[in-house]
């Protein structure tokens, strides 16, 4: 194995069901239902998925949802803005913990 991630492995995802078919069926049914048109459009859901893919840093998901976003009619500007949302939340999540730092520092400082 040259690398842990191979693009050709992505289509093998469905084979994960061979280990635990009933659980896989529940998961994939749920997955399909989540991405169906609802109060949010499929295009909006795909943009959310792209942003989350970057937050969890999954190369398979980034590949799949980049293509899916384009095929749902999104453009590079929208996709880049979506990634900035993920980035802002990731960065913000670190920064907001500065409150904890300030609490601790405040308690033990003169």
């Amino acid at each position: 194995m040259d690398t842990y991630y191979q693009p050709k492995d992505l289509p093998k995802f469905a084979k994960i069901s061979e280990g635990a078919p009933e659980l896989a069926e529940k998961f994939f049914d749920y997955y399909t239902a989540v991405f169906a048109e609802g109060e949010l459009t499929q295009r909006e859901k795909s943009l959310i998925a792209l942003a989350v893919a970057h937050a969890v840093q999954c190369p398979y998901c980034i590949d799949a949802y980049t293509q899916d976003c384009l095929e749902k009619g999104s453009n590079i500007s929208e996709m880049t803005e979506a990634i900035h949302v993920a980035t802002a939340i990731r960065g913000g999540a670190s920064l907001v913990h500065g409150v904890q730092m300030r609490n601790v520092a405040g308690k033990i400082s003169l």
């Binding site: 295009r43 384009l70 095929e71 590079i76 500007s77």
Partner: protein, 329 residues
């Protein structure tokens, strides 16, 4: 072996992809029939000359191309249109506006069919000398089918070239001011959105809804319908796919999305396509391969009977484009 089989064999395994079943094998192995119905549409390609060099063009049209339809061939087209009863006549190119005889052709074809369509890239018609053409098409109530891949300038221009977007928006405003795309004017303006790369088009219904909202919000523009079509892996687009290493994955994606239900509505079933020099094809895409109607080179001046129900259609692997997803009608 028939002329059609010989012609299809010449184009067989077009993309040299071992994992790809030929389109004819796919039809045969699945017991599917792709044959003609009544012929209702005449499509006329008036030349390869174009002011743009779009990256997705299946005909490699552009400013350096010299092949344009002559007055003599146009007269043959007019004779053909008068001999038969076509509901729709569809003028395409290149940029049809750049053929110097286009106004004569439009004037004479308009009374010969119910719907006359002019395919426009929205920039060739923007030149000042095209004002009389704009007046003519609105007078004759010619339907405009215009290319606009995206309402995002950068994305649109990756396909159609620099400075094409602002001109296209200006032309759409001009067409709206003439009544095109507005209710109750009888002047129809339809948009075509092709993907800006090696991926499938978005849902036609959703894309139309979004274009309608965004074009109205950003520029106050209106249109009638929007069509989404996949890019055909021929001509300049094929060259791009090969040079970027996208060919195999793109063609396999088209084939993986083969939808047998799309066969029923394919345009090649009810259309004849005429090349700039007057020869007959089953569709404009087959022109890029010299894949002639019935597998035999035949000029329109020799056509006395239209192809009819159950007649064969010449196919090759590029046909996977029109059958991917909801299809190309």
């Amino acid at each position: 072996m028939s002329n059609l089989q010989t012609a299809e064999n010449l184009n067989s395994n077009l993309f040299q992809i071992p994992a790809l079943e030929t389109f004819r094998e796919n039809l045969d192995n699945n017991g599917l029939d792709l044959s003609r119905t009544h012929c209702t549409t005449l499509q006329v390609n008036v030349g390869m000359l174009c002011n743009q060099t779009c990256k997705h063009c299946h005909l490699d049209a552009g400013p350096s191309r010299k092949e344009i339809m002559s007055e003599k061939t146009m007269n043959d087209v007019l004779d053909l249109a008068a001999r038969f009863d076509f509901q729709t006549i569809d003028i395409t190119g290149g940029a049809p506006e750049m053929n110097p005889h286009i106004q004569t052709l439009i004037s004479k074809l308009a009374p010969l069919c119910k719907t006359l369509i002019l395919r426009s890239n929205l920039t060739a018609i923007a030149e000042k000398e095209q004002e009389p053409l704009l007046r003519l098409i609105s007078d004759k109530k010619v339907t405009i089918v215009a290319s606009l891949p995206s309402f995002n300038e950068a994305q649109s221009e990756t396909q159609r070239g620099k400075n094409s977007f602002a001109t296209s928006i200006t032309t759409l405003k001009k067409l709206n001011s003439l009544g095109y795309g507005l209710p109750d004017t009888g002047l129809e303006l339809n948009l075509v959105s092709n993907p800006t790369g090696a991926f499938l088009p978005s849902s036609q219904e959703q894309t139309e809804k979004r274009f309608r909202q965004m074009l109205a919000r950003k520029w106050g523009l209106s249109f009638n319908n929007l069509y989404t079509f996949a890019n055909v892996p021929l001509g300049r687009f094929l060259t791009w796919l090969e040079s970027t290493g996208n060919l195999e994955s793109y063609v396999l994606k088209l084939a993986a999305n083969f939808n047998s239900c799309s066969l029923h509505g394919l345009m090649c079933r009810s259309l004849i396509s005429v090349s700039w020099d007057g020869y007959l094809f089953d569709c404009d895409f087959n022109q890029a391969l010299n894949l002639y109607m019935g597998g035999r080179k035949k000029h329109i001046s020799d056509l006395y009977v239209l192809p009819g129900p159950h007649d064969s259609i010449a196919v090759s692997e590029h046909c996977y484009t029109c059958t991917a997803g909801s299809g190309f009608t």
